[in-house]
Symmetry: C2
């Protein structure tokens, strides 16, 4: 079986890897229908996160179950399934509290850019769709594995409710799906922060009511201007840099919330500033498993179409071009078909 | 009129100050019935927060209205009133959202260790009790001006609800009243972190079910042990140091909340640790004005007795001894009577 392997900065190769098989009795092996490149894959791809050895890549996946261990009872061969990038048992106290991405037995699922994938803790991790989906639904179902679940969690963590004013920092796929999530949750006003025309267009399609092109302090000033000097009720931080985190915090009204899902790289928060800002902070790796049933339902019934974030589709063997296109911001997100 | 003035580290003097009078039409002048020394007064007293000029002290107060400006309509001379350490108009968007300590017109009320006090924005800041209270209620009513409202906010910010497991970091007056607040809000289990016997006793009286004497990593390990490895649902951070903040964060379960009210001194939060901790963070200067009606009611009807945190009562002219006793941890909190 061939799959993507990252060797070092900007060096992704599509090469022979060991075929996955059931190892633990709780495993499943699935045949990948679609996988994709995540914004967070770009951190190691760009060398910002060091790569010490050849590393198989990919943590977003959906596909057909091929084989299951003898302890697996909730999914069976032939079913179409979606799972989170963190395998979880869905029974430990953290899972029961809705934080499956902090499962006491969590395992990162990191080899999905390939034809087949071993998924540990299959009962707790995978959710089957009502039937094998038609082909046009697959991109949207794939987003539920991470990017849409992450945008959804950002909106939830930021307490987006009907009537609220929301600002979204970051116009990558997560930010854009944060806009869609805020809209689904009834936000009255959604300010997307973006300076790229194609992304602005998609943001508007997903429900953004305002676009702010300024960044940093100027971006904060614009948000304040748009909210009568008060700040937004909810701000979704979908980048993970010091600048984006500060922009998010300073755009939030006292008593408002920042939902942060961008994996932090070098972010430090000053306790005193946070104290006097009076904001709520919540975030982390999205517990997408919690949201899968609800989001599958929304996609299945064609209420939402998050698959629109894929503006480039390539055969899996062109995975290297998929990374390049995202790195150079020629593509928002690359879908890969084995 | 005489009042307390801080000249430099450990140099508090009781000396002649200008008598306060109504300056703005929205002011009130009150005759102080009782005031006290706050844990946060110890930061400048100890020289950790520099004092650049002789500084009048005191921000906790209750007393009888003596005079009001012509625009004041909600309180009148003769009434017994309590106010927050931040004057607020109680009408701006931040006040309406319940964050009066981020009022767009907020003013710090910092000269309360004296016989009389000017309170700006009296209509928005002061709340009158149903009648002039009997003397024995005054200590508890005084706590509502800051320390009890702050403990209450910590519990609210940490989402303390019926049935939750709560840990309280800090056994000063705020921490102890955090215990009382958590108990009032129906917490099932309240773990007080304290190594001082008299404070442990008061914590138990206020509702603590467990005492943990360990600190830092050992303290965290004890909390984990007491919560089956998961962590507390809600942790109240009532100190403001790097160690206490880390202790609070690391004692919280994924999806749980830290309510932090200790004024941060040199606290820095690592974004990555916060991200993977999955905790919620909320806090800041307590909007005690929001809680005054409810808390006055609880004290007035003798449902709570937060005044027990005062274990030293002195005449105001012995204010310097009041600071010393707290600095040396001989007293939890000093009440001062003009």
């Amino acid at each position: 079986m061939r799959g993507a392997v990252l060797y070092g900065p900007r060096d992704v190769r599509f090469e022979e890897r060991e075929a996955p098989k059931v190892i633990e009795s709780t495993d499943a092996v699935i045949r990948i229908s679609a996988t994709c490149v995540c914004g967070s894959d770009l951190w190691p791809y760009r060398g910002i996160q060091p790569v010490t050895q050849p590393t198989p890549m990919g943590h977003e996946y959906c596909g057909i179950v091929e084989d299951v261990g003898r302890a697996v009872t909730s999914v069976k061969p032939g079913q179409f399934v979606i799972g989170s990038f963190f395998a979880s048992d869905n029974t430990c106290p953290n899972c029961r509290a809705g934080y499956q991405s902090s499962c006491q037995r969590k395992e990162f699922v990191g080899t999905a850019q390939a034809g087949r994938l071993r998924v540990p803790l299959a009962d707790g991790t995978l959710v089957a769709t009502p039937a094998v989906p038609s082909d046009d639904l697959i991109p949207s179902l794939l987003t539920l594995s991470d990017v849409m679940g992450t945008g959804w969690f950002a909106a939830e963590a930021a307490n987006v409710k009907p009537g609220t004013t929301v600002a979204v920092v970051g116009d990558g796929a997560v930010g854009l799906l944060g806009v869609l999530s805020a809209s689904q949750r009834g936000a009255e006003r959604i300010i997307a922060m973006s300076r790229h025309e194609s992304r602005q267009r998609l943001a508007r399609e997903f429900g953004a009511t305002d676009i702010v092109t300024e960044r940093g302090d100027e971006g904060v000033a614009r948000i304040k201007e748009l909210t009568k000097g008060v700040g937004a009720d909810a701000v979704l931080e979908c980048v993970g840099t010091q600048e984006s985190m500060m922009q998010a915090m300073r755009s939030t009204r006292p008593g408002g919330s920042v939902g942060y899902v961008g994996v932090p790289h070098g972010v430090e928060l000053n306790g005193e500033e946070l104290f006097y800002a009076h904001v709520r902070l919540h975030g982390g790796p999205a517990p997408v498993r919690r949201f899968l049933p609800e989001l599958i339902d929304l996609v299945w019934n064609r209420k939402i179409n998050p698959g629109k974030v894929f503006d480039l589709t390539l055969p899996l063997d062109q995975v290297a071009e998929g990374y390049r296109a995202m790195d150079e911001r020629r593509a928002i997100k690359t879908l890969l078909r084995p």
